[in-house]
Structure formats: structure tokens, C-alpha cells
Amino acid sequence: MNDRKPMGQQKPMEPAATNRSKKGGGNAKPAKLSRDVQARLGQQLRAMYDDVVSQGVPDRFNDLLNRINGGKKDGQ
């Protein structure tokens, strides 16, 4: 009895769109991001970066420097 159809490929109506009219902006307005958004993006960026940093120096690079240091003449 409920008229609601399962939404297949049909585009849902998105009633939520009304109370957030600015969302989904394709418009290239250079809006200023709020501080908390900036902070959150920064946090994610650093988390990603620091994760790699925390892996330290892989053996490969220690070996490389040791090899170079081990008496190889410069210029190849």
C-alpha cells in the first residue's frame, strides 16, 4: 500500500538537499573553508604522511649508502 518503489536507477529525491542548499556545489566559488575543516584535512594529511615516516629507513637505503660508502669511486 505504501507507494514507495524501490529505487532502482531512478534518481532519489533527496529531501535532505533542501536544508543544505549549498551542498553538492559544482560551482567553483573559492569558498573559504572553515577552520575545523582545514584542521581535519590537515590531520588526515599528516596521519598519512607520518605513517610512512614512522616506517623509518628501509634496509634498501641503508645498504645503498653503505655500498656507496664502501669505496666506490664517484661518477657511477
Binding site: R20, K22, K23, G24, G25, P30, A31, L33, S34, D36, V37, Q38, A39, R40, L41, G42, Q43, Q44, L45, R46, A47, M48, Y49, D50, D51, V52, V53, S54, Q55, G56, V57, P58, R60, F61, N62, L64, L65, I68, N69, G70, G71, K73, D74, G75
Partner: protein, 181 residues
Amino acid sequence: MPMDESVRKAVLGAVPSLRAFAISLCGNVDRADDLVQETLLRALANIDSFQPGTNMSAWLFTILRNHFRSEYRKRRREVEDGEGHYAETLKSQPDQIGQVEFREFREALAQLPSDQREALVLVGASGFSYEEAAHICDCAVGTIKSRVNRARTRLAELMGIESAEEFGPDQTTRAVLASGE
């Protein structure tokens, strides 16, 4: 000729962040490590052009970035395996960030134009000043600033974020962010 111990230390000390920067450029760990290796070889072959007392890390970043742009960029995405492989290298998911959100972030970052991405990473993660980043990227300070701003705006757009509430159900973090600092 053996390299100076202080040089060796400084070079090795820069490796972890060089890798992180390289991964953000390449999006692929193996290629990033190759890039770092080639960077180190170039740097050590030209160690005479390094001025003692200046920032070794910035010098290495400059070499890496130039090498990436001349050699790697054109091959970019040829061997794109992006997410899967990259995710493997991430040992720990940061607790304070939801997994989905973190993945979305990385995907969004990968979509940024490389100029913007490198500026954002240098300033936002590597800890370089705008001036240092400008030097590394061989451009004006104002250019770096605008790239960073555009990068942030674009990231937020790609992730569909306009306010911190849209970061998902992670109330704790938001509360901390809102109340803290």
C-alpha cells in the same frame, strides 16, 4: 672516497620523509622507493653542490621533486594500482580517523593536480615553511600559498565536505577539535 659521516647521517635522516613525499607524488610505494633511491644517487653524485649549513632535507626534496617531474610524471598512472598497494604500506590506521574517511581522503588527494598536491604535502605534512616550499618547487611564495589553498578547497569538494559535521559520525574527534586548541 667515503662520504662524510655527517652527510651520511643527514641523508639517511631525510629518507623517511623523502619516502612519504615520494609516495604522495607517485601514489605507488615501489615506484616511490625507486624515486628515492635515484634521488639519493643523484644527490651523492652532486654532493659538492650542497652547501654545508643549509637545509639538507630541503636540498634532497628539491632533487627528488625535479627528478620526479622530469622522469616520472609522464609515466604517471601507467602502472596505477593506487589504493590496494598503498593501503598495504599503511601499518596502522590512525585511530582517530575512520577508515572510510581516510580512504576517501587518500583518493581525493590522488586526484589533485600535482602542483597542488606537492604544495599541500610540503607545507601541511613535511613541515616546510611557505618559503622553503617555494624554493623546492622553484616558484613564488604567493604561488605556493594559492596552490595550498586551492588544494584544500578541492579536497573538501572532492570529499563533499563543507563543514566538519560532514566528516561522518566521528563525534569524538569533532568534539576534541571544537573544544581544543
